[in-house]
């Protein structure tokens, strides 16, 4: 009796530890709850001028790193380089990695790049998440360190814009070197580009009702011309780049982070 009790305890603890290893690994990433609400986006919600209405959502506080992506590949062999069908990831998929399961010469804590939209979605699903929508990304990225919406500040706009003129001859540096923004989110600017779930929906007037010559202009980057917030070049550049991507392509500076819808019984519990 005396002997059995601690043994049972130890078994219980071991079981808990095992369970945590299985369940916890999927929930290890840090997510922050953002309230959303009415938001003036560069992309009007009605195609003309109305504000977007954003539901509350959880956003990963950091982009996905090479080390995190490697762990995903270890659990999901079908997403390893060489195993993925071309429609899901083209030849540039993880091309800088030394091997299918070796991210060197890239850094463990640097954001994973050269991932296709499909691969990014699959990673997020493995975290019980999805890619953020453009509106969600833009909402979170409107904040600087102190303000929820810093987009009226020309100094800040100039700062985030300066990143785009830096030469892109080195892979992106480590995640989290810069302070988090107002929401506790890191690296929305000045580190990488990021996939959004609706990358193939980022256009304004070009649709099936537009006929003739206007139709020829569809999706050729002309979309940005009718956007509402023309001062925020940094965000407009991102929009144009994403709109020009195909889902199986990647980019040396194109990474991603994930988002989640609030689960009713989890709401109010920050960073579970």
């Amino acid at each position: 009796m005396k002997l059995a009790a601690p043994l049972a305890c130890r078994c219980g603890a071991l079981l808990l530890w095992l369970l945590w290893g299985v369940v916890g690994s999927a929930w290890a990433a840090d997510y922050r709850l953002l309230a959303g609400g009415e938001f003036r986006s560069v992309l009007p919600a009605d195609g003309e001028r109305s504000a977007a209405s954003i539901q509350p959502f959880w956003l990963r506080s950091t982009p996905v790193s090479n080390a995190e992506y490697l762990a995903f590949l270890q659990a999901h062999p079908q997403w390893r380089r060489g195993a993925v069908p071309g429609v899901l990831a083209s030849a540039d998929y993880l091309a800088l990695w030394a091997g299918p399961l070796r991210f060197s010469p890239l850094q463990a804590r640097a954001p994973v790049t050269q991932v296709s939209w499909h691969a990014a979605q699959a990673f997020c699903v493995s975290e019980q998440a999805r890619l953020p929508t453009w509106y969600e990304w833009e909402f979170a990225a409107a904040a600087d360190e102190l303000r929820a919406d810093a987009r009226g500040d020309p100094v800040w706009l100039a700062r985030i814009l300066a990143w785009y003129s830096r030469p892109a001859n080195q892979p992106p540096q480590a995640i989290g070197l810069q302070p988090a923004n107002y929401y506790g989110i890191h690296d929305l600017h000045e580190l990488t580009w990021e996939w959004v779930e609706d990358f193939n929906g980022l256009f304004v007037s070009a649709d099936s009702r537009t006929q003739g010559e206007q139709k020829q202009l569809a999706f050729c980057g002309g979309a940005a011309l009718s956007l509402s917030d023309k001062n925020n070049y940094a965000v407009l550049i991102r929009l144009s780049l994403l709109a020009a991507m195909e889902a199986n392509q990647g980019g040396n500076y194109l990474g991603f982070r994930c988002a989640r819808d609030p689960v009713p019984h989890l709401s109010g519990v920050p960073n579970e």
Binding site: D46, H76, Q78, W117, H118, G201, S208, Q211, A247
Partner: protein, 206 residues
């Protein structure tokens, strides 16, 4: 020696099945293996590299890759679409009418852009309204927004839901060969058959 080997194998098997039972995401992969084996022979640029579970107007659940083996015309639309989609359907109906293919030689798959709204029942209603020929046309809907986006991405269809309930999208009809490779596509939006696409389908049917 032999016994040790067998024992080790048995132990290995037991461990493996234990891992398979416990680890999330591993078991579906193991189950998907036969499908992957069948698809392994597909060319590298086949769109059937994308798994896409759908439900059609009859409520039948299927993966669009099951339509491999015959040429397929595939496009996306949505039920409430009052302008472009009827034109698109008319164009596809004209295409079929001009081709007069044998039943089963060619299928037309139209997938909804609006999984929150379109259901097998609404698709069946739509099919009836437009008098779509059941021998060729199959209307279907994916499980959710993410799946729908993935399908649209593979077919180079761009769409965006506007806040008035409309979905802004481009109309693109893609012709896949038996292996799922893109052999032609059409973005023409007129209530007539696209002659270039028609020619490509004709060649595919020979």
């Amino acid at each position: 020696m032999n016994r040790v080997k067998r024992l080790r194998l048995a132990l290995h098997g037991a461990l493996l099945s234990a891992v398979l039972l416990v680890t999330p995401g591993v078991l579906p992969v193991a189950q998907a293996a036969p499908v992957n084996a069948a698809l392994a022979s597909l060319p590298a640029d086949s769109l059937y590299g994308l798994a896409m579970p759908l439900t059609d107007a009859q409520g039948t659940r299927f993966d669009w890759r099951e339509m491999a083996g015959k040429p397929l015309l595939v496009t996306m639309f949505y039920g409430d679409c009052a302008s472009a989609c009827p034109v698109l359907m008319q164009s596809l109906q004209r295409t079929i009418a001009e081709l007069q293919p044998e039943a089963g030689a060619l299928r037309v798959l139209m997938v909804s852009l609006n999984p929150q709204h379109d259901t097998p029942a609404s698709l069946a209603h739509l099919s009836h309204m437009h008098q779509l020929d059941q021998r060729f046309f199959r209307l279907a809907v994916a499980a959710d927004e993410g799946q729908t986006r993935a399908m649209a991405a593979a077919l180079q269809i761009k769409y965006r839901a506007l806040d008035n309930g409309e979905i802004s999208h481009n109309t693109r009809v893609t012709l896949l060969n038996a292996d799922g490779q893109v052999t032609a596509s059409s973005t023409l939006l007129k209530p007539v058959a696209d002659q270039a696409l028609l020619l490509a389908v004709r060649q595919a049917l020979q």
